[in-house]
């Protein structure tokens, strides 16, 4: 149990182990920008050890019951502390959110999945964050709380750029809301990396397609990561798919539209040109998987 004199005594490098939401929000109200919020630590501790972030007060939130637990209903309510492994291993979540479960399964090894949380992945806002495309196609919302107020944003609004979100220094991300897959709907997350495990995505793509009885696409959501400063939805590609029966030419055009919305860069993992070339084939593969999972007949 840490008390305020400890924060004073250790100056800019304290550790506050919050026992409940009120205590965490009070600490954020008091110290705001001087606080680094610590959940699973898989990003924060690495950044700290590499010297990418300067030592600040660590606010440990892992004990907060208000940020735990998930319930699948008409809307899925998911605590920000839900770990990647909890998503992978929870049958109800896997059924309602197959793309999210697939994305979580590609993150690190078991050690990372045990520690890393959905809230951490979103707030860290890496351009290659695996969970973000899956959350985007789930129409996810995020709840932020401060000592004074609660507000809700879509995840799409919340992540504004590379490692940049709308979270204010006094706010804590507490929960997410997600739309489960409906009837005649399929979704998937596909990831290209150099190896099967422990890999940061070269390109990641999530897709959710809903069909009518005739197999016509009535709703399409396409999101990609690692091909721009932040994971994004391609409204252009989505619009092209809606109303189609996934004819080959349509899918190719949607792939080209997705390429058009992407802004990949060269880095140590891959060139921008390679990332760009992957998008259309990945989108095509995703349409087949979504169709198969929605169990409707194609033309």
């Amino acid at each position: 149990m840490v008390t305020k004199p400890d924060i004073e005594a250790t100056g800019s490098s304290g550790f506050v182990d919050a026992e409940n939401l009120a205590e965490a929000l009070a600490t954020l109200a008091q110290l705001g920008p001087k606080v680094t919020i610590l959940a699973g630590g898989t990003d924060v501790m690495v950044q700290y050890l590499r010297g990418d972030v300067t030592p600040s007060t660590l606010l440990h939130v892992r004990q907060l019951m208000e940020l735990k637990g998930s319930r699948v209903g008409e809307v899925t309510d998911m605590g920000a502390l839900t770990t990647h492994w909890e998503i992978v291993s929870n049958p109800a979540l896997r059924r309602a959110h197959p793309a999210l479960a697939e994305a979580a399964a590609t993150v690190g090894g078991r050690q990372t999945q045990n520690a890393g949380t959905v809230g951490g992945n979103v707030v860290n806002a890496s351009p290659a964050a695996d969970l973000l495309p899956a959350l985007l196609v789930s129409g996810a919302g995020v709840t932020l709380k401060s000592a004074l107020a609660t507000r809700e944003l879509t995840v799409e609004e919340f992540v504004v750029g590379r490692r940049s979100t709308q979270r204010r220094p006094e706010e804590l991300v507490t929960r997410f809301s997600l739309q489960p897959v409906g009837p005649r709907t399929g979704e998937t997350y596909l990831k290209i990396g150099r190896r099967g495990a422990m890999e940061v995505a070269i390109v990641g793509l999530a897709m959710r397609l809903a069909f009518d009885e005739e197999g016509v696409v009535v709703d399409a959501r396409v999101a990609a990561c690692a091909v721009g400063p932040r994971p994004f939805r391609s409204r252009e590609a989505e619009a092209r798919l809606v109303g189609s029966k996934l004819e080959k030419a349509t899918v190719q055009e949607a792939g080209e539209l997705l390429r058009g919305t992407a802004a990949p860069i060269d880095d140590s993992r891959a060139t921008a040109a390679y990332r760009s070339r992957l998008l259309a084939p990945l989108l095509a593969r995703a349409t087949s998987t979504c169709l198969a999972r929605a169990s409707v007949e194609a033309d």
Binding site: M45, R110, Q111
Partner: protein
């Protein structure tokens, strides 16, 4: 700052810096050097320990974030008189130890996994050890060791 842990069944009270890692505390304060420092960024799995039964990379766990927890390290696997546990015997019998640096991490990852799944197949084991790297590349023997330990465990 005060840190209370139960390490391999022994209650410990330590004074640690706010940003200390669990790996640092285990190796430098408790001299439990079986847990290895490899990449120091949660990629290689050499520092894997169990916190309340779950495998984690101790190099990126803030020590104070696991205050009050039970921590199990490779030193806790063998019995009181140094008799190796089933998984350790499996590693010895199948030649799964080459340079040995990754071994404690693999042992802890597999200990946690096999408590959930006592009789895994080779594919399940390959997925389970995805977060551990053996740079001697002796993965086949490690899989074989886990299979042999499972076979020798009374059901």
């Amino acid at each position: 700052m005060e840190l209370r842990l139960t390490v391999n069944g022994v209650a410990r009270v330590l004074d640690v810096r706010p940003h200390a890692t669990l790996l640092g505390v285990l190796r430098d304060s408790l001299f439990l050097t079986g847990t290895k420092r490899g990449c120091d960024e949660g990629e290689c799995g050499a520092c894997t320990v169990l916190v309340d039964g779950s495998a984690v990379d101790s190099c990126i766990v803030a020590a104070l974030s696991v205050n009050g927890s039970r921590v199990d390290t490779v030193e806790g696997l063998a019995g009181r008189y140094g008799d190796l546990d089933g998984l350790q015997r499996g590693f010895v019998q199948t030649g799964a130890v080459q340079c040995g640096f990754c071994t404690p991490g693999f042992l802890m990852t597999l200990t946690a996994f096999m408590s959930e799944n006592p009789d895994p197949n080779a594919d399940e084991l390959r997925t389970a050890i995805a977060g551990n790297i053996c740079r001697c590349t002796g993965y086949s023997q490690i899989i074989e060791a886990a299979r042999s330990a499972a076979a020798n465990t009374p059901k």
